[in-house]
Amino acid sequence: MEEKIVGEGVKFERIRRITGYLVGTLDRFNDAKYAEVNDRVKHQVSTGTGAGVFEKV
């Protein structure tokens, strides 16, 4: 019996927040915002420090 394949061509959805609004697919971002999303780096949340406690800058 031949194996049936499903889901071909179905893309993952990637929800991102752009200037306050959620957008369901990166295709709808304009070029500048697409670049901005790609450039984002994560902000480390130092563990072990309680709320409002952080290293001196």
């Binding site: 889901g7 990637r14 929800i15 927040r17 306050g20 609004y21 709320a51 409002g52 800058v57």
Partner: protein, 770 residues
């Protein structure tokens, strides 16, 4: 002998002396002349002149040059002047036509994928018929406003990228946004413009009318709509539904325990009798003595056995509490679903909506908060993350911030939902600039935010009305900070002088726009003004102008790219050095004090916003790169950094970023928001998530949120983080998988092609208790 001429589009057409004569005659006519013979004579002089130059195929421009020359040389100065004017009008018109037609061509023949204008606003689908039609209108309106409505100096500054006039297409039409008081709107019912709607009677109608109100108002304004008091506005619906549920369950209890056939009508009348006699109703808190009075009546007047009545009441209380929870969940689920599927603005866009909640501690309001959060956590029909509304959870000491406070459980739930769905965002009522307005239990004094970050609270026009309801932003215009810094070549004094000139220009432009807006009439806004949504509009007649009531709104100066500005001005941005941090605060404080002074001077609410830059993030930098070349840290990326944010590419800890950005929230009274990008799936680390939110509050931010990736595989339904491969089903992006494997994963055997149910996702959707 001239035989043909070359038109502007390159085509050659036969030469006609009559056409030249007609053009001259028209110009002469405008100065009072009416001699066609003379025009014809002048036209032949024009022909002679061209032939003398040896040109046998002149262009239209060359002919017009010759006409001007001949008219002036033959002493027809006034006609020449008219001709030149007519010519430049035509070329202005033609230039507009060409630019606009180029844009239309792009809109018509390219996909959104290849066309940046179509993706200017990510929530409008530029590929649909209505989406494209909206863009035609919008682009045409922008050019019309640039050429014919704006003062030339404002148009020039906008077109050259010194400033950006937001929503220029709506310049002559309407204002930005409004905070809608549903409590006031629902009292006694309202009209949508397409029919009258009665005061709602249960939580389901409260929630659907809330959607209708958002949608109706959205058609009258170009920005988003906000409900400042969501839980308080919905609570009466819960109260009404609870009463019904209590009565119907009591009737069932009485039927069973006291042997009635059909007790519903009798129980309804009983409830009314208790209410009329003792002024108490059945309520969720069950603490107003209703049951005692009801028992008294049933036993003494209707001679029912005490024990049976008590048992029936206990049954009714228990069942009604359970059912009201379910009904409220369903109403909130419908609310979220509606806002994500209902369309406004000609079908191309769902309403931009925000709801604020978190502070009302009544049992009814708490039920609303809990269930709107749970409905958002559950997601849409197939578990998709809802895009709207934007949720804003308000945090306040004594109400929901610390363990033991009445809504602390809801704060915890808000963190959990935001860690999964990106909403709610959080607003902080204890930050001094918000706390100064705060009065306990009076929602009109609780600062609200509109999704995009707009904040409207102070009121110099009428200091006795510093309230949220019925007010909003009128318009805003942003200054290109990085350009001012590039032009200053490191000279801070030059920078501030230039900044002041741009601020003056923007204030002048905002005021011009306000005058246009003020001359609009009530009938132009059938819902916003016609239904009294906007403050004091209920006192106006349909033909009245809006000038006075609009003065409660804000006229707002915005800015973008503080980071790049600092980089260009002193070589470092505010993430990098203390000097830059101080300079950044100095610049933004200066802009704020200019706004305050302007507000004082005019009695109008000039305010400062940290520009969200939806359509702007690439525009300024593109122009500046063209002018000044690639400047490292300034024009070397395709975007300028959002308002006062530390650049997204700059590595910095969450707590440091919050500490640096916090002070800007106090300065930007027209709106602000900060973001933290969290690594991994925050649902796995809710303590860290909450610690970040707490840090935001301790640093006196006004409004903030946490970003994290939310991915979903539509094939297997997994929601979470997906790298290259789906962690649940193992497929790559776009890859097919065996139906057999999928079936095993999903744990059910239904035919996949014929159903859209998804047991796994449905399981995710069951409401979890707080």
């Amino acid at each position: 002998m001239l035989e043909s001429i070359v038109k502007r589009d390159g085509r050659e057409v036969p030469f006609s002396i009559d056409k030249i004569a007609t053009a001259i005659y028209r110009a002469a006519e405008a100065t009072g002349g009416n001699n066609y013979e003379e025009s014809l004579e002048l036209a032949s002089q024009v022909v002679n002149y061209i032939e003398q130059t040896g040109n046998t195929k002149p262009t239209v421009e060359e002919i017009q040059d010759a006409v001007e020359k001949v008219l002036i040389e033959t002493g027809h100065a006034r006609t020449a002047k008219k001709f030149i004017l007519y010519r430049s009008d035509r070329s202005k018109f033609r230039e507009m036509n060409t630019r606009l037609m180029k844009i239309y061509e792009g809109l018509t023949f390219t996909d959104a994928k290849e066309n940046d204008i179509k993706r200017e606003n990510a929530n409008i689908d530029g590929d649909t018929a209505m989406g494209t039609m909206l863009k035609y209108g919008s682009e045409g309106a922008k050019q019309f406003n640039e050429l014919y409505v704006l003062k030339p100096e404002h148009a020039k500054a906008h077109m050259e990228g010194d400033i950006h006039i937001h929503d220029l297409d709506f310049l002559t039409l309407t204002t930005t946004c409004c905070q809608i008081d549903l409590v006031k709107l629902f009292e006694g019912g309202f009209s949508t413009g397409h029919g009258y709607i009665r005061e709602p009677n249960d939580i389901a109608s409260y929630s659907s009318l809330a959607c209708i109100a958002l949608q109706s108002n959205q058609n009258d304004q170009h920005g988003g709509q906000s409900i400042p008091n969501f839980e308080t506005a919905m609570a009466p619906g819960v109260r009404k539904t609870y009463r019904k549920l209590y009565v119907s369950n009591l009737s069932k209890g009485l039927e069973l325990l006291c042997g009635y056939d059909d007790a519903l009508e009798a129980t309804k009348n009983l409830c009314k009798e208790v209410e009329a006699t003792y002024k108490v109703s059945p309520i969720l808190a069950n603490d107003n003595g209703y049951q005692e009075k009801e028992l008294e009546l049933l036993v003494n007047k209707y001679k029912l056995p005490v024990e049976a009545v008590k048992r029936a009441q206990a049954f009714a209380i228990k069942k009604a509490a359970k059912e009201i929870d379910r009904k409220t969940f369903q109403a909130m689920e419908a609310f979220v679903h509606n806002l994500n599927t209902m369309h406004s603005r000609a079908g191309a866009q769902i309403p931009f909506s925000s709801i604020n909640y978190g502070l009302d501690t009544s049992p009814e309001a708490r039920l609303v908060i809990k269930n709107v959060l749970l409905a958002t956590e559950a997601g849409m029909g197939n578990g998709e993350t809802p895009i709207f509304p934007i949720h804003i959870f308000r945090i306040k000491d004594g109400i929901n911030y610390n363990p033991g406070e009445p809504n602390y459980d809801l704060f915890k739930l808000a963190c959990r939902v935001s860690a999964k769905r990106l909403f709610p965002n959080f607003s902080f009522m204890d930050s001094p600039f918000n706390l100064q307005y705060y009065k306990e239990g009076d929602y009109n004094t609780h600062v609200a935010y509109m999704g995009c970050r707009t904040r409207v609270m102070s009121n110099v026009y009428d200091p006795s009305r510093e309230i949220v309801s019925g007010r909003g932003n009128l318009s805003f215009t942003s200054v290109n900070l990085p350009r001012l810094a590039i032009k200053a070549h490191g000279n801070v004094d030059v920078f501030f002088e230039d900044l002041d000139r741009k601020i003056d220009l923007i204030f002048d432009q905002l005021y011009d726009r306000f005058l246009i807006q003020g001359h609009r009439k009530v009938y132009n806004y059938p819902f916003l003004m016609g239904q009294g949504i906007w403050i004091d509009s209920e006192k106006l007649k349909p033909d009245d102008e809006l000038m006075e009531v609009l003065k409660h709104g804000t006229l707002t100066l915005g800015f973008i790219g503080l980071a790049e500005c600092l980089k260009a001005l002193i070589g470092a941005h505010h993430g990098e050095s203390v000097e830059a941090r101080n300079m950044g605060l100095e610049i933004v404080s200066h802009m704020r004090s200019r706004c305050d002074m302007k507000a004082k001077e005019t009695g109008l609410n000039f305010s400062l916003i940290a520009t969200p830059a939806e359509g702007l993030s690439g525009r300024f930098v593109r122009m500046d790169k063209e002018r000044y070349g690639v400047i490292p840290g300034v024009t070397d990326r395709p975007y300028y950094t959002n308002s006062f944010h530390v650049p997204v590419y700059y590595p910095i800890s969450a707590f440091e970023k919050i500490k640096i950005e916090g002070p800007y929230h106090a300065l930007t009274n027209g709106g602000h928001i900060s973001y933290i990008e969290m690594d991994g799936d925050p649902s796995e680390n809710l303590d860290a998530f909450e610690a970040v939110i707490r840090c935001m509050k301790e640093n006196n931010m006004g409004y903030a949120s946490i970003n994290h990736p939310v991915d979903r595989d539509p094939v297997c339904g997994y929601t979470g983080i997906i790298g290259d491969v789906c962690p649940r089903c193992g497929r790559h992006d776009g890859e097919g998988i065996s139906e057999e494997v999928l079936r095993r994963i999903k744990g059910y055997t239904k035919n996949l092609c014929s159903c859209d149910e998804n047991p796994l996702e449905d399981a995710d959707k069951i409401a979890n208790p707080v």
